[in-house]
Amino acid sequence: MAKQRVMIVGGGLAGLSAAMQLAEAGISVDLMSLTPVKRSHSVCAQGGINSVNSVTRQQGDNEYLHFDDTVYGGDFLQHQPPVKEMTEWGPRIIDLMDRLGVPFNRTPEGFRDQRRFGGTLFKRTAFAGATTGQQLLYALDEQVRRWEVEGKIKKYEFWDFLGPVLDQNGTCRGCIGQDLVTMEIRSFPADAVVIASGGCGLIYGRSTMSMVCTGSAASRAFRAGAKYGNGEFIQVHPTAIPGADKLRLMSESARGEGGRVWVPRKPQDTRDPKQIPEAERYYFLEERYPKYGNLVPRDIATREIFNVCTYEGLSVEQDRLAVYLDVTHIPRAVLDQKLGGILDIYEKFQGVDPRETPMKIFPAVHYSMGGLWVDYERTAEGGLRLGSPRNQVTNIPGLYAIGECDYQYHGANRLGANSLLSCIFSGLITAPGLANWIKSVPGGAAADQPSSLFDSARRQHQQAHDALLKRSGGGENPYLIHQELGNVMTKAATVVRRNDVLQEAYGTVCELAERAKRCSLSDTGNWTNQNVVFTKSLLDMFPLAKVIVKGALQRDECRGAHFKPDFAMPGLVATDPAAHRREAEAWCDRFEENTRKWLKSTVATHVEDGDPVLVYEDVDTTLIPPRPRLYGLVGAEVIEEVWNQRQVAKAAAGHDGNGAVGKGAVKATAAG
């Protein structure tokens, strides 16, 4: 049998951890990346990586609570077994990264230090300054370089993934790539292809994501038949620095270390913020969410900041939207030691020292919770069966997806500091499954497949490329179309979503998709032609943009990052206790009805030149039954009481033999 290989597309945390572990298992790896892997977008992650640890454990924390925070934070929209497995691996993953030399911050005694992040009540987050993503990525980059020297991994940097190669049975046998320097298009036979290409923020024009995060690789897999899950769930990070070329992240760790969000009570108060007395400041997150304060989950922080600026008119500036994020009360030495990296970014790009002056920040598109649909194999206990080739595989056999470009771990909203964990975890867990898959690929090794399979796929991509270069006329400018797409997506499908706006946006996206086909290139050469590469990735944004907008339009509810005011479930208004109680009952009825209807993953299939087909798939919630997210809602206590009584009654009536419902009810009291 020919020597077998795995192709990994993308060299961020997910791709590198998969590559590293495959190499350890003796499997040869090719790694294709648009950029040198050390420059992947993972490098931008700032705040930290979550897991239960020895300190939080003594405060009553455990893996189950991390699991619960993740699914509760994600509004129950994720299959629970992969999340359970991830949180159980968390402590071991941090240990591994520690061993690989990540310079995690230390306590005086030499242990790893921890901080608190949004959506949790424990100091569960390990961090390396405010550049945790950079440090984790470098540790993995170093290990992969080590394997490269050993000859086990071969990197193809500055290569673009053009699409998978499928055989007549629909099994993935490799992929087609293009060298971004020479523009050579080449086929890569592979016994499995793993897409680890990150998020798709550039569909929104500007976001906190890096310039390679166009979603093109995921879109090319989608166009080749891979299904796409929960596309409409895009996280808008509450705090970013607005900029002309991109929106720069201001990590949640600024709030985790005690940063406070506020606006002056007087609209557009012109005083120096430091001169505004406490009493004239509106700490709106602390007032509305006393328990979590500035560390409410991201979807809630985002919406509150958006509301206070738009509906309440309290933006700190007249002509643009922003609130203060204030760390000036924290000692300088602490700031430099724990937040130096992110505060430097603010200072570099805004020319103002945030240690002295409150930062001006506003929400920005940040993370794609949705992504390529992937499978998993669960155990009876509700975890993952390790080594199963089904883990992380798309609906195309042999084509896998991991990291931000899969839809698996975050549901409707991602908890801060869980992305690094999910990326490394999905990379690590895929490797043993892949090892088993390549042992028994139906039809033998990719290298033994007829060369005609690869030749014809290569030729198709070559023809498409040549046609794009030769196309004369049309006159559309790809950069300007991208701006228009970004504007319509940002307006329609970010913080607040309304059906009329979404409906119109869908029409506009379809028109732009047609116009994009008439783009004329200003560079028709075949050497480092960034113009044609960008145009191709622009064309690939439309299928995903349609999935996002159509998914948002059809989902008539509020869930996590997806907020439709027309379908919101407001708090209780009655003051009379009996009426209050009746309202709470009605609220719970409505919640249950909504859960029955909408607690489903959106699964999209591509239709060439048509509307994507969306179907809805049930979510595995067998471990933690869904319960209302009641952060800050008026009447939350009564709703919770009614809800818990119902769960107890259900359990008593034998609706759930394994007692999971009862456990969930107890949990609701603890965390609600």
């Binding site: 350890e24 950029t35 040198p36 420059r39 992947s40 977008h41 490098v43 931008c44 240990d95 591994l96 520690d98 061993r99 690989l100 030399g101 310079p103 230390r106 306590t107 005694e109 030499g110 390396a128 950079q134 290990q143 370089r145 320097v181 310039m211 607005p242 900029g243 002309a244 070329d245 991109k246 720069r248 738009t310 643009r320 939207l321 922003a322 030691q337 970014i345 570099k348 790009f349 506003f362 920005a364 950069y479 300007l480 940002t490 307006k491 329609a492 970010t494 913080v495 607040v496 009329d500 119109e504 869908y506 200003s522 028709t524 050469g525 050497w527 480092t528 960034q530 960008f534 159509k550």
Partner: protein
């Protein structure tokens, strides 16, 4: 999909990012010129080109290059191919967008137009890095920089990736010493500014395969000066409790041809490092460590 039936929503005016666009446009609407040194490919001669850009608030060199790409027309009105450049994160943490901005090697993303025009009101000048072969325009080939990390074995050689408990205890002082070195983003500023680091440009021979070419490339790189970034990485890994187990091997690699002895102590590296990494401190420490090691070796240690 049904056609739109509803009218505009007043809400639509409050989009999440309208803010950044509407900021400060009115104050000074003016134009400025950017001069770019272009080169169509390796071996081609370079030429200057001038583009005129509308000045907007909060611009950096990246947004200037984005405007250049979108208009693809010189100041003389000639239609040209967009300028090629390298960038990714735009937050000065990925290391991709290094170039010479007004003669100084730095990241294009943190090069703010307002500041640049304060210093040179006549316009902005962009050139590719000088010590790396030009691929096209402002894009250069920095493979040599990564090869240096292979050469000095810049990693922690752990036993494996199975669960083996936590890493070694590390004092906060040790962590604070390691952390800045670990922020090196392989951008190449230190190399471009270094008088001992000379440009190496290899051409591919007729009939040479990828593997053969890269092997020859590595052999050439390995005998020329390794650079401050790699020396600093040796100190990072030699000071880690696990990395220290292989400290001697890294020091030996650091005294092989092209090693630390080629450093001329010009100190340019530390002056241009965008991450303020104490490169000369690392070089000093590495120098002492290699000296001690060679003395120890003389005495059979």
């Amino acid at each position: 999909m049904q056609a739109t039936t509803n009218g505009h929503s007043s809400h639509a005016d409050h989009d999440a990012h309208a803010s950044a666009d509407g900021h400060g446009h009115s104050s000074h609407v003016t134009e400025f010129d950017v001069r770019i040194l272009r080169q169509d490919g390796p071996g081609n001669s370079s030429y200057w080109e001038r583009h005129r850009i509308k000045r907007e608030a909060d611009m950096n060199v990246i947004s200037v290059l984005q405007r250049v790409a979108a208009q693809a027309k010189t100041v003389e009105g000639q239609r040209v191919a967009p300028v090629a450049w390298d960038c990714n994160c735009l937050e000065e943490v990925c290391g991709a967008c290094t170039m010479l901005v007004n003669g100084r090697v730095r990241q294009a993303c943190t090069a703010l137009v307002d500041r640049l025009l304060e210093d040179s009101p006549e316009g902005i000048e962009l050139r590719p890095m000088e010590k790396f072969p030009v691929v096209r325009d402002l894009v250069v080939n920095r493979r040599r920089l990564f090869r240096a990390l292979e050469k000095v074995r810049a990693w922690i050689p752990v036993d494996g990736y199975y669960d083996a408990g936590p890493g070694p205890r590390v004092s906060p002082e040790q962590q604070q010493q390691a952390y800045p070195l670990s922020e090196c983003m392989s951008c190449g500023c230190c190399l471009d500014a270094c008088p001992q680091f000379n440009k190496l440009e290899l051409e591919r021979n007729e009939g040479e395969t990828d593997e053969q070419f890269h092997k020859r490339e590595h052999e050439t790189y390995d005998t020329h000066f390794v650079g401050a970034h790699a020396i600093s990485q040796v100190m990072l890994f030699n000071n880690h409790p696990t990395g220290a187990l292989n400290a001697g091997e890294r020091l030996d690699l650091l005294t092989a041809p092209g090693g630390i002895q080629d450093c001329g102590n010009a100190q340019n590296c530390v002056n241009v490092c965008p991450k303020k990494i104490p490169l000369t401190t690392s070089i000093g420490r590495a120098g002492r460590a290699t000296t001690l090691r060679s003395i120890a070796k003389w005495f059979g240690g």
